[in-house]
Symmetry: D3
Subunit: 337 residues, 6 copies
């Protein structure tokens, strides 16, 4: 495979704590020889597994960025057994611009894997993860939220991987996040996801949807920060006692394309179902209103099947085709093993 052009100031084998950067070369109109500098903090102390902890895959998802910035500042090598690599923000230009996609290349970072050593900035970084960082790791944690566009019941999430041993470890790790709900999802919208590449390499991959919308409540910050620490304790990378679950987990999944409800027309969306509530088959989950024509009947969006509304539209304004609701269903016991 082609060699990465990215330069790292971190020595991956050195014990102790390092703050450093990945330097991704690029040009823009105000700097011909520039580097996008991606902060990395690494702590290493003795033998043990390696956890790679990531956030800011999408720029407008901040709870994970804050959680990792806190860990990067607060942890000392004494807290660690093995190695933890912390990257608070993968798509820095998007985080600075409050956008999902990178303003540098217009890419959705979670659709460019396995990446390209001579591609755009996003593709170069994906390639670096694929060829350098994933091979170093045993556990890969990628912290998402619904971002600006979707609200989510705060939950840890995972793919249904085929390898049963890998699946078992991922289920246990997901449950260690201590969210009330755990969500098993399918990729209904494209390919090239970060977790798919990490799973392909056999890693234990833990992801999340820590709420959504631009507002982050203190409760969501706490769940993100505590959950992350607990998962690291669970896997033995962070020393300390594992926090017990406050209540038993409920596993749900949305694997059918029809579980994702899309706006049939552009307008102002009125959400009728609280995120996390149940719906019956055919129930109206929302209405689209038309500002230019107050006399026009609103258009209804209905549930395809009974279940729990795991996610709803963020902004009230919708464009035809935007996802306005995701309806999840209990995971059959046999899947969980």
């Amino acid at each position: 495979m082609q060699k990465s052009q990215i330069h790292s100031t971190i020595d991956w084998d050195k014990p102790g704590k390092q703050h450093g950067h990945l330097y991704i070369p690029y040009s823009y109109n105000l700097a011909g020889w520039a580097n996008l500098m991606v902060p990395v903090t690494m702590l290493k102390n003795g033998a043990g597994p390696t956890a790679l902890v990531l956030a800011g895959n999408h720029g407008d998802e901040y709870p994970g960025q804050v959680a990792i910035l806190r860990l990067a500042r607060e942890l000392t090598p004494d807290n660690i057994r093995g190695r933890v690599i912390l990257i608070p923000c993968l798509t820095i230009p998007a985080s600075k611009a409050m956008t999902r996609l990178s303003p540098l290349d217009g890419k959705n970072f979670n659709r460019v894997f396995p990446g390209n050593a001579s591609g755009t900035v996003s593709e170069m970084l994906a390639h670096f993860l694929t060829t350098v960082l994933f091979p170093l790791a045993d556990i890969v944690i990628d912290i998402h939220t619904g971002g600006r566009s979707m609200d989510f019941v705060p939950c840890a999430t995972m793919h249904l991987v085929d390898d049963l041993a890998q699946r078992r470890k991922m289920i246990e790790g997901t449950e260690a996040w201590n969210s009330d709900i755990a969500f098993m999802y399918a990729d209904v919208a494209g390919t090239g996801l970060l977790p798919v590449e990490a799973e392909r390499q056999g890693k234990i991959v833990i992801t999340t949807e820590m709420g959504g919308g631009e507002i982050v409540t203190p409760a969501v910050h706490r769940l993100t920060q505590n959950g992350l620490r607990n998962v690291l304790v669970h896997f033995g990378v962070l020393r300390g006692d594992k926090a017990p679950r406050p209540k038993p987990v409920r596993w749900v999944q949305a694997l059918d394309r029809e579980d994702y409800r899309f706006a049939p027309e552009s307008g102002i969306y009125e959400n009728l179902i609280e995120c996390g509530s149940g719906v019956a088959t055919g129930q109206t989950v929302g209405l689209i209103h038309f500002l230019e024509r107050p006399d026009r009947e609103p258009v209804a969006v209905t549930a395809n099947a009974a279940g729990i509304v795991i996610a709803t539209r963020g902004p009230s304004l919708v464009t035809q085709g935007d996802c306005v609701a995701c309806i999840a269903h209990d995971v059959p016991a046999e899947v969980l093993g």
Copy 2:
């Protein structure tokens, strides 16, 4: 005063129900002789007061727009005693663009009163309200939320007007919204507000902050829609029985400049206090983190005084000087009369 250039297709004296528009003349590059058409629905039935019901003062505040669109479609003249004038959206170009300010003239509609008959589109419409619609009205209701930029404890709100009779009616109307909290606010950020002009004309003015952020929960939609109907019933414009308060109102106020806490530096804001919770003097309400420098200590924002956090910052990204928290205090009994 100068005559308005705005043309209305509504006959303000005609009984029954009319859907019509205000035509505000303007030019843009794709239409030389264009009108911004502002939808108005009017219902009139016999003697009684006139209520002017407004939303979309700021484009990115949708609960009131939805509530009025529903009323405009659902009400019939039989439901009315007197007259109700419904304008679901005052700043349509901003609502279509999901912005607070009008993209047509860059104006904050709530800072341009009393308006200007030959000014920009926002100024022309403010002038029309000042000279045509406010004089028709007894009650003026202007439904706000925190918009994209702020989260609010959902509450009905009012100014502390000097005229005691006017104040008493406004307090009663505000309480009729049935929000748990009612908020008395001062204008710490500029002049030219819509309610100030309506109050100057002696109207009973009821305003709200129906939550905030881009996500609108069904609970907030319900509070907006039910509260609005209840206020109209309270004033006798809408027929029906007044809904009793679910619990006694708590009146709070934020009249001191220091009650409004601003970001001391640009960065990623982590909100530490749940909207609606109490804080102690000097307590840290939030932290500002720095993505370029994970090693740098975050900067704390603290409470100036004990109270209840009535509003918090919406997006995690803050620019120096953005309001990140508003701390309110119980209103002295003598103010409420």
Copy 3:
């Protein structure tokens, strides 16, 4: 009145031919001490009236700009009796950007009269016309088209001024353009027009709508260039023989607000009536189609009254409130005198 800050390199009293500029001082980010340079060509030869010939009032109206550029290059002092002042383009930044409004200040130049000596670039130039150029002139010619946004039956146009002597000269001048149709118009969309200020100063004001849309046919260029020359011959400023009318003029007017038909909803407009054709009362002049909903019935726009369609919408895409048709009616004989 305040003194203009605009500097002119033309000597208004000097015989012969001069190419010069008006220098309007302004700053932009790439030049702190800049001038918008507006080209002016002047020819003077002996005694006679002064004609001020203008185009580019709106930047996206090119036939007049081309006609005046040709005259400015081709005329010699021998062709003149008196004085002709030629300004091919009043709003140069808009002409360069293909827009109606000036990109420098967002102004519609035809709404800023009488102007302001210390205002924006458009206001400063309007003030210069009001205080320097109109007083020099006997005849003011301002060549318009429908621009990008409207199509027009190519016609010379005028306001119905009250002064009967002035009106008579304007009617004769308008007819000298030799367009088949002459159009008497009212100002239904705002104040501050260039011709209104020139008329107020008692000038003979001739305007036009030389077709529209972005495409300019050779026939429209010829009508613009020949008509302009013929009007100048008619008033004795240009030497030569006056061209006879190819056919008798038809005078029409659209003085009622309802003559202007606006799009009731945003969508794709299908124009059903050829510009220049007759319509009956209530006839459908166009349909608005909805791309997101091919099953939805189109919305019809109808004629308020019988007449001739003097202008139709340019682009197929319409926003609610855009003018889609203007219906004109024969001018009563007594008005024409």
Copy 4:
């Protein structure tokens, strides 16, 4: 070949009439799990050929979009023999933005064939046409106009395909549009065209240039709508009687690079030749004027050879290298067979 990620709600084998959509998955900053929804209407009734009818290949070409929206609403299965698949707009984001290229990916849809299943939105849709829709079709109709940038003599058009049987059917189908002129064109500007891929699959491909500029006259709408119906009748897909040609067709072609005349310098273009008129070799077809320098001689553009001007520049403002005229020549009889 790679499987398309596009989901269709149409059952291609089901008799009767269906309104549905193609769902093209994509992300944008306001919606992470969005679909571009492309409306499709299908009618099927018994045995017979399949016609695939397309418009909005370029977003700013509206006559075909309107014609197909009308057919989609008006047709019933009784009108059909075989199957007709109607897509009123291939590049919806461009149609909504009044642009030629898609604002989503900057692509010219008519340059991305055969497409890419994991490419941009335009590439994914081209791939779906190539792998799913073209194989279903016998006849492919793609309705173009000159869009905003060019004016055309309204005409049906085709490529000179090598297969003589295919060519014969295409000539007959092209003539069935009943435009006065039929135009045989070469691809002088790039590769990746929609018709080339359809022709490669052996389909009968009929295209058009239904005028141009942003203004669409009722005559052009009628020619588009009547021509389209007549072609469908000609091929037996639509029941009814074929309309006879109003006058014999004139076949012209522009196969030489020099038939396309480009602006030698940026400026204001004055078109001197009416679209559809003849020109002599060396004749001046237009002049470029310079607004900053009224004294400078205009630059002439001349005809390379005698012929008919089949297309001219739309906007008056030209950038160096823009096509300002296309000169066509009679097709030799032997080509037509």
Copy 5:
């Protein structure tokens, strides 16, 4: 005069050192209750004059911003006799955007004096300077450079004020900057300048043009920082010994409109005269080249009169009307007194 809405956290009478801010209230789409926070540092120690030191009047002029940031950090009250008020950047949004004009309101801050208490952000700040800060000051120092658009011989500058006592003190202060050249300038481009208002209030006003272009050399930083300190020492506000002039000052002026040379046409400007060199009357100072037409003769710009070129155009690309050279002349001895 109207009361300012700007809130200051500085106590103007308190001895010692304070870092604080001016809070200018405004709204933008991401923050409804925001303040533009303008940093101010004040040092006060005993009796003595007050110096108000300003930079960032234009956002793209950085040497003064850096010099004041250094002083604000480095100075202690012991260094001071009297009071010094330091504002490193007046137009912060422009400094962050690298622009001359404020991106918040499009204003040139140096054209909005005396300001407006209820105007835009720039106007509100100008009003605060006019009504609060200038009255506190004896000496007003406003540090400019040519910004992005012009290069300057680094020099201290002043207006030729009428009051001879004021003029004398300003001449002495200007000379204390120790630049080789001192420049006396006239306002040929508009009104509303900061120094004019300060001079009107009788203040000793010292300004500069510390080079220009985006590159700031260490020599220019040193001249700015040392000159500023020396002027403060000269007026007794800063303790220490005054640095002697390295060589005698040369006073020049450009008071005639023709001293400012403007680009006669848009193109690529080739500067032929080194900034600071002499020119003869009629000498070519630059050439404008045309990229689209390498065969076209360049257009020359010539000197109106003999003198020294005190400033030249920054970027090579010029738009018609941009200033490309400023030619200065020795100041007559009698003016200097």
Copy 6:
């Protein structure tokens, strides 16, 4: 290799002087059938080598564009021995927009080699150079500057090629530019450079960094123009006498990644070292100041090793990762041979 779609109007074999263009086909929203026209001037006279002379690789680097425009106008075939192909600007849309990257496709032209016949405009032109123009040439000259973003000691530059004969000729040609310093550089920021492809084809490649920043002094214009002529004389393409070096050349190189110093944090950069001066190991070369926090200590950038500062940052505003200094070292004698 795929055939280029670019059409050239130059006959590469014809003696004499030709002005012509390369036509690169593309579409944009205002022109469907457009060509980017790249000016080329060719002079040919008898036997001799071919020099290909290029500038405007990056749009914001003007000295080479001016030098070649002058040569293109001034040279006659008599001046030539062999052939010279002059392209004043490779990236015309960037030159017109004052940007480094092409606004048409966002590409850095110096990173797209060897190009792509069916790619974007930049890629198509790179492919044309690779497949058509480089094969015609013996000497390839590509004139750069630091552009807007970097300042450079004006110098001729080259890569250290492996082929010793090629290297020797390149050293001699580089020295013939008569700059005081000659710079041997490594490609630390990406691949796909123009000179790398030309060198791969065995050409003698001469490049430059003729200063930088937006201001171009007359001295830099002279060095560019005289150096270019002297190199052409040196290789025998231009007739005339070779100018002797004004002083002996100093050869420096920056081949280590650490020679390039990047901004560790965003802020206002104060450059402390004059371009061309020496620095010691660990010396502070610049400071980053923080406008929002005048009390915060600036962050220092230090020299990794002793050397000469060959280049410094252009604009004062820096984003984390921008190059702020490049430190060069004397080239070992054995490298120069």
